[in-house]
Assembly symmetry: C2
Homo-oligomer: 394 residues x 2
């Protein structure tokens, strides 16, 4: 297959490029390296010492003889993206090329605008480029479970059958996104769904849970191929941050009570899921939604698991409940369906003490790079304090 | 009250400004006149000869002694909008300042991006400005019934109680927006709802039907106060277009069978609805949604009503079924609840032969201004023809 991967320099985009290249597919990547600049702008870094995209591609060529083509530019530049799609003529586009941090989107008006502009307009440009050049192409778009928020009913995979006043219809599952970043992903889903209904495009929206882990089969083969690893309060996801905190002797920062429950998955499973989606394309006009995670955990349960595992390795670990900087329910119902990827053959990598220990071991090599001042929560969802608790909905 | 009206130079914005000013409120308006340029760019004009904003404000001052303050600039410029809100300190913001044409948004990638960028980012800037300067202010936002699309169940006002697998919750009503413009309004609703939940803002989303009519009590008092009237295929709404077509002897352009059913309301009722919303504000943290229309009609029923009424005035009227340039269902279930504004006291102006005749009479004065080449449908929803009919949803 010919694949185009947007955001191919990122935490997931780079390992995804390697995975498809290793399978013998023809892979092109697009990136403008803005993620590297964003992380620097918040006073942080990648724990892992990542090479430039050019160096990584050269190392992959040297190690495997395989070629990855790169296009340097921004998805929000419509003319650029149009030319890339016209030239690379992908059969599958995998779109990771977005601002993916909730705290980043909440820090200021400027960052909120940057997030929604880049994500929504970049995705809109992509829809037009696919329509105009490769209308049969399958778009695999990374969404997030955070689009759904915390409804008081079971979360279905994208759609829900509603019986209402004696009639019924299957409609998009209602969304209660958790940040302005999550709002941007809802906007994307709305636009993609429209493009499928109206232009007959085919798309799969992967509403992904929180990803953890540091290595994949391909990145582990050569240190020059390692992917980025974020641990700070802005770009680090919770389990990765906890593992780093355990290693450097920083308390595990649990926001509020830690009763917040979410779906999680290992980075290796992300690649498996994306591969399953790409090799089993959506039909023409179909907007398919998969909930992409393997297990649900509460934040406090994860903290205890990391504490237990790291203490087994000789670390002394403290759990610290911080004032929750986000506006979210800390005790809530949460049950999200996630069977479609299992039906396609996903075999989950389940989280346990052994897996946490392997992540901790991988982190140990790079712990000297950690910038401790970037770890504690600073970005408040409601800095002006108008509302102290989640407000009523209706 | 101190009111700030965004889009105060427009079809509805200008009469709204006059209405609140006439009631003795302190009114400021924002506009960048881009609507005038857009209409010019598609080879059309306002049938009514509208004065500049400056001239209109001077005429209003001369006629009534009342002052309307104006700010010239774009809502998508965050710094500008922030300064306007900080300076005018509104108790109510009425936000009409958006690109409001579905065909315009569908004509090209550039126009789609312009629509979603201006609408979504402008509205996002507004949410931050309200949060930072006037968090108690009531945002009255113009949405559209087209956000809901054509579901096969009754359309509720913004929310729906869903019973699912033995649990239940009241959640945002699922949306199937009808164009990329309508998508932008869905995005706005998602962002505003988030701002209410997270920052405790108060907002009313007016999901308005298709507006018709040419005069309000205030604009009719002086020809210099007249509001714009669009009749072309891009900016003209269906009933206004039909009335103009009848007057100039152009066939009434019905798209497809004309079975498409929508909610409609008179421009005078728009002002009454906005006034009811503004004088009965949403609570802190409340995101309130009203379905703002008074009657449902199919397009073909409207064509027959206009034909009947205009022929009664001596016109000879032909109805022409054009190939539908849009991707939409032409025969479908449609029943939308619209009781919340009635509960607040709205007394609908119902459409009938007499009302159509009065619109036709008002149009007659300006019929010489019509540009006939701008009337027939040209903007196709699916110019590349990938999908010929609305595709499946799930």
């Amino acid at each position: 297959m010919r694949l185009l991967i947007l955001g191919g320099d990122g935490y997931l985009g780079w390992p995804t490029a390697l995975r498809f290249s290793a399978r013998g597919h023809e892979v092109s990547v697009v990136d403008n390296f803005v993620r590297r600049r964003w992380v620097e702008s918040v006073g942080s870094n990648s724990l892992t010492p990542i090479r430039t995209l050019e160096e990584r591609i050269a190392a992959w060529r040297e190690a495997t003889g395989r070629e990855i083509q790169s296009f340097v530019g921004s998805v929000e530049e419509g003319g650029f993206l149009d030319r890339v799609v016209a030239e690379s003529r992908p059969e599958v586009v995998i779109h990771y090329g977005q601002q993916a941090s909730a705290p980043y989107s909440m820090a200021s008006r400027e960052q909120a605008v940057e997030t929604q502009y880049g994500n929504v307009i970049g995705n809109l440009n992509l829809l037009f480029a696919i329509r105009d050049h490769v209308p049969e192409c399958h778009l695999v778009k990374l969404g997030t479970m955070g689009e759904y928020g915390q409804p008081d009913i079971d979360i279905e995979e994208g759609y829900i059958r509603i019986e209402h006043k004696g009639r019924s219809d299957t409609l998009p599952f209602p969304k209660l996104p958790a940040s302005l970043y999550h709002c941007s992903k809802v906007h994307d889903s709305t636009n993609i769904h429209f493009a499928c209904r109206t232009w007959g495009l085919r798309a799969t929206d992967l509403n992904q849970g929180v990803v953890y882990g540091i290595e994949t089969d391909e990145t582990a083969t050569d240190e020059r191929l390692i992917t980025r690893f974020d641990y700070d309060e802005v770009f680090g996801t919770v389990l990765n941050r906890f593992c780093l905190q355990a290693v450097i002797g920083h308390p595990l920062t649990v926001y509020g009570s830690g009763g917040q429950t979410r779906g999680f998955l290992n980075i290796r499973d992300t690649l498996n899921c994306v591969e399953l989606a790409a090799t089993n394309p959506a039909g023409a006009g179909e907007f398919r939604v998969f909930n992409q995670f393997t297990e649900q955990f509460s934040v406090i349960d994860l903290a205890h698991l990391v504490k237990f595992s790291a203490e087994h390795l000789g670390y002394s670990v403290e759990i610290q409940h911080c004032e929750n900087p986000r506006v979210e329910k800390e005790e809530h119902y949460y049950n999200a369906v996630h069977t479609k990827l299992l039906d396609l053959g996903l075999e989950p990598t389940l989280l346990g003490e052994e897996l946490v220990e392997s992540i901790v071991h991988a982190i140990e090599r790079f712990k000297g790079n950690a910038i401790e001042s970037a770890i504690d929560p600073q970005t408040r969802w409601n800095p002006t304090g108008t509302a102290k608790t989640p407000a009523g909905r209706a």
